[in-house]
């Protein structure tokens, strides 16, 4: 028996719940059968979360003096805040409201109405039993450090950094590579306007590099993240550059003089060369070069030092004895814009990449088109001199394919159209695009498709079966033959071409799972970071204070990456402006009168929140460090530790409620004690 006056509210959710659960029946049952449990009001309503639904609750609290509220509706992750706020408005402590998920856990997953109704009753009974033992609580307030860390300085990260820095707040921009810019710096043209990628990106890079509010840490990686929203401590490893950033002027003489020539498999996608001391491209930000230890003659054979000898600065900028530096920064919020990896086209052997010389990946082709790239923008075959007379472009390489990635990589259609245009423009070659579906959504994209169609590019709808150099028919000798079904005419076609470009998929970074773990967020099954809500909260994550932007969240083009970067910043700025954040008051505390000082709890806490008083032989929990997991509560053999919102009594009461009804709801579960005969 309880003295509490409990109100029970059951939502129809339109028909989402009421289709499978007899909500009127549940409401009547709660009102009549649960009277002795303290239920004084029981109502059902079409949309409990609507303002009218909330007002219903508020009115009951005020008029009937409810002391507890149970809302049976959707998942608490969706509307707990809504109903708590409603209670608060009516003067009831928000933590005296409990939600029961009868949509996600009942109506959407079960089909038998009778049994679903019974299960709803059991869940509500659990909620009623539990809520009676709830205590009024106050949210914990934590201050927000105004500094933000942004991980990954591609276009999305740069945009995010600039938004925050321009608002007057400090930003730490961490980039793994030696220069910021990300993949966009590798591209030549951007669809659909065909403006030059470098022309629109480099001003932003310079702005980020020079911004007084941005601390740029390139050639650096995050090693460790501690703390929580508002108060993260991040350990960052600044990898040894072997160039003193304080004195280097970025003149580039060292690069010129370095005798070690290396194939650049990263920035130039294997098409061009760089030196052992290098920067990715002339407009790199920061301008300082970096020494590639694996290929540097001095590091490998202890002689050369050409870079040091020719370095004109005083003191010399080249420091062979430089070591990695580990620094710590304190930040309040973190934006992860770590970008993507390109699908390794070698994984589809029948397309011949890596085996047939004139099969190129999209990134190789981007570098080839780029005026500052290895061919200064001329479209050549692998020999570096021959201009192709016919080119095949394959869409969806590694995308929309159950063997590799099920998802659509979003950019490939437009990118392939751009390639088709560039090939036509620069070589006049015949171009064949092989596609599954043409996906040209978004502004001005389909117009670009029309333009490329008018330019005389051939489009064949069908997934390519193979690319081969085995000629079978006259005219195929010395060519690459693309075998594909043309699904419009229902026939197999063999098209001989000089060059093949594979529009490879966007994949999550190879280490996205480790990074996600490091920052306490999760990855979806395909490896991209999981957002808090796919539609309503695409840049936040389940972990407060950690935001995601750009291709790290899923494949997207440049405008979408920039939009997300800016959106993440808006969320961060909101947090900074608020100055402090209210946290769920889910914390553990020790009743020191009961604590026996056994210290079993002491090593249960990974946050070092439990300290032990040697003098009094009792443990104490620091509420600022406690994260509220409750592991120590479960471990305490004397029941001296209790957890707010999840106390033993509350959970056991809920358990009692859940077990009070059978599966069919017909009867209270009766346990027959075994006779002693």
């Amino acid at each position: 028996m309880t003295d509490e006056k409990i109100g029970v509210y059951i939502c129809h959710c339109g028909t989402n719940i009421s289709d499978t659960v007899d909500v009127e029946n549940v409401a009547t049952w709660a009102g009549e059968d649960l009277e002795e449990k303290g239920v004084v009001v029981s109502r059902d309503y079409k949309f409990m979360c609507s303002s009218l639904g909330q007002e219903l609750i508020e009115a009951d609290i005020k008029e009937q003096g409810l002391t507890r509220v149970v809302v049976a509706a959707c998942s608490p992750h969706l509307h707990e805040a809504t109903f708590r706020t409603a209670c608060d408005r009516a003067g009831l402590n928000p933590y005296l409201c409990e939600m029961v998920s009868v949509r996600e856990q009942v109506s959407w997953v079960h089909t038998d109405k009778e049994i679903a109704t019974a299960k709803s009753k059991a869940l509500i009974l659990g909620g009623v039993e539990r809520v009676a033992l709830h205590e009024p609580l106050e949210p914990l307030k934590v201050p927000i450090n105004p500094t933000t860390m942004i991980v990954g300085a591609g276009i999305s990260g740069i945009q995010s950094a600039l938004e925050i820095a321009d608002s007057g707040f400090p930003v730490v921009l961490v980039e793994r590579d030696s220069s910021i810019g990300g993949h966009m710096a590798q591209f030549d043209k951007t669809f659909p306007t065909l403006d030059c990628s470098a022309c629109i990106l480099t001003p932003k890079m310079v702005q980020a590099g020079n911004h007084p509010n941005i601390t740029l840490l390139s050639w650096s990686e995050v090693e460790r993240v501690d703390g929580y929203v508002g108060n993260f401590t991040v350990t960052i490893r600044k990898k040894a550059r072997y160039v003193n950033e304080d004195v280097c002027t970025g003149c580039g003489i060292c690069i010129e003089k370095c005798p070690a020539k290396v194939i650049d498999t990263e920035f130039e996608a294997g098409l061009g060369y760089r030196k052992a001391i290098y920067r990715n491209f002339p407009q790199a930000v920061p301008k300082y070069p970096v020494i590639d230890v694996d290929n540097c003659i001095y590091f490998q054979r202890e002689k050369c030092k050409a870079c040091q000898i020719f370095c004109p600065t005083q003191p010399n900028s080249i420091e062979f004895d430089q070591e990695d530096e580990v620094i710590q920064v304190e930040v309040g919020n973190i934006v992860l814009a770590t970008g993507f990896d390109l699908f390794d086209a070698r994984r589809i052997p029948q397309y011949g990449y890596g085996r047939l010389a004139n099969v190129f990946t999209s990134l190789e082709f981007e570098r080839m088109c780029n005026a500052s790239g290895p061919t200064t923008g001329k479209v050549f075959m692998r020999d570096g001199v021959t201009t192709p007379k016919s080119v095949g472009i394959l869409h969806c390489v590694g995308s929309r394919d159950k063997h590799y990635n099920n998802y659509c990589s979003v950019i490939c259609c437009m990118q392939s159209l751009k390639f088709a245009h560039v090939v036509k423009e620069r070589t006049g070659a015949e171009v064949y695009n092989f596609y599954i579906d043409m996906r040209t959504a978004f502004k001005d994209y389909d117009e670009f498709y029309q333009r490329v169609l008018e330019e005389g590019v051939h489009f064949i709808r069908g997934r390519v079966a193979e690319v081969t150099d085995a000629a079978r028919l006259p005219g195929e000798e010395g060519k690459l033959i693309i075998q594909a079904e043309d699904t419009f005419i229902g026939k197999q076609r063999r098209i001989p071409v000089d060059m093949v470009i594979l529009s490879a998929a966007i994949e999550p970074r190879h280490d996205s799972n480790e990074v996600a773990h490091q920052f306490g967020i999760s990855c979806s099954t395909n490896g991209f970071f999981t957002e808090k809500h796919p539609k309503l909260d695409p840049v936040a994550t389940m972990t407060e204070g950690i935001y995601i932007a750009g291709c790290a969240q899923g494949p997207k083009d440049i405008p979408a990456s920039i939009t997300q970067g800016a959106a993440a910043s808006a969320r961060v700025l909101g947090k900074i402006q608020a100055g402090e954040l209210a946290l769920e008051p889910v914390r553990a505390s020790v009743n020191q009168d009961i604590c026996s000082g056994c210290r079993i709890c002491n090593n249960q806490c990974p946050f070092n929140a439990i300290l032990f008083h040697e003098d009094r032989m009792v443990s104490e929990i620091n509420p600022a460090l406690c994260q509220g997991c409750g592991t120590c509560v479960a471990a305490c053999p004397s029941n001296a530790i209790s957890g707010t919102q999840f106390s033993n009594e509350q959970l056991e009461a809920q358990l009692t409620g859940l077990l009070a009804l059978n599966i069919d709801g017909s009867s209270v579960r009766v346990l027959e004690p075994v006779a002693a005969d």
Partner: protein, 161 residues
């Protein structure tokens, strides 16, 4: 068991707020169907699961208990699910001594993205428990539910110090 065709087990599921509870949400959002025999309790972490909750659930009429948490290495609270695992192993051993079939308590890792997997595990578990039949807790525990009945009274001998 004779009543197997009629028997609908009642299973209590303890879920972690960050992974498996959200997996259950996801299963709902994706309209994946699973048997209605499971009733879930949300904890902040599987590490909050006091093993006595499992015993109390079984004593209170549950035929089985499902414990779910984040995958090893993915705990929202860094490493608390390892503590769950340790307790789970001990608990299973204890239940066996009580005469409770170990399959009545199951630990499943389910990330927030694994709605399908969680639903599959629930379906599988319901089948398994249905085959086991009802847990007749009082049969192995004294009528007041407090102590397991030993088959013979243990002989208490005084030991010389």
């Amino acid at each position: 068991m004779a009543n197997n065709t009629e028997f609908e087990p009642l299973i209590i599921g303890f879920t972690c707020n960050w992974c498996s509870y959200r997996a259950a949400d996801l299963a709902g959002m994706s309209r994946i169907k699973y048997p209605p025999n499971v009733r879930l309790i949300r904890l902040m972490c599987s590490g909050r699961l006091d093993p006595s909750f499992v015993l109390k659930a079984l004593k209170g009429g549950a035929d089985a208990v499902l414990i779910t948490g984040c995958h090893p290495g993915e705990c929202h609270y860094l490493e608390q699910n390892y503590k769950t695992l340790k307790r789970y192993i001990l608990l299973k051993r204890m239940l066996e001594q009580f005469g409770v079939e170990p399959n009545r308590v199951k630990l499943v890792w389910a990330s927030a993205a694994e709605g399908v997997q969680l639903a599959d595990e629930i379906t599988k578990m319901v089948e398994e428990v249905r085959d086991l039949g009802p847990l007749n807790w009082p049969a192995v525990v004294s009528p007041n539910g407090d102590h397991p009945i030993a088959e013979t009274e243990p002989v208490v001998e005084e030991v010389q110090a």
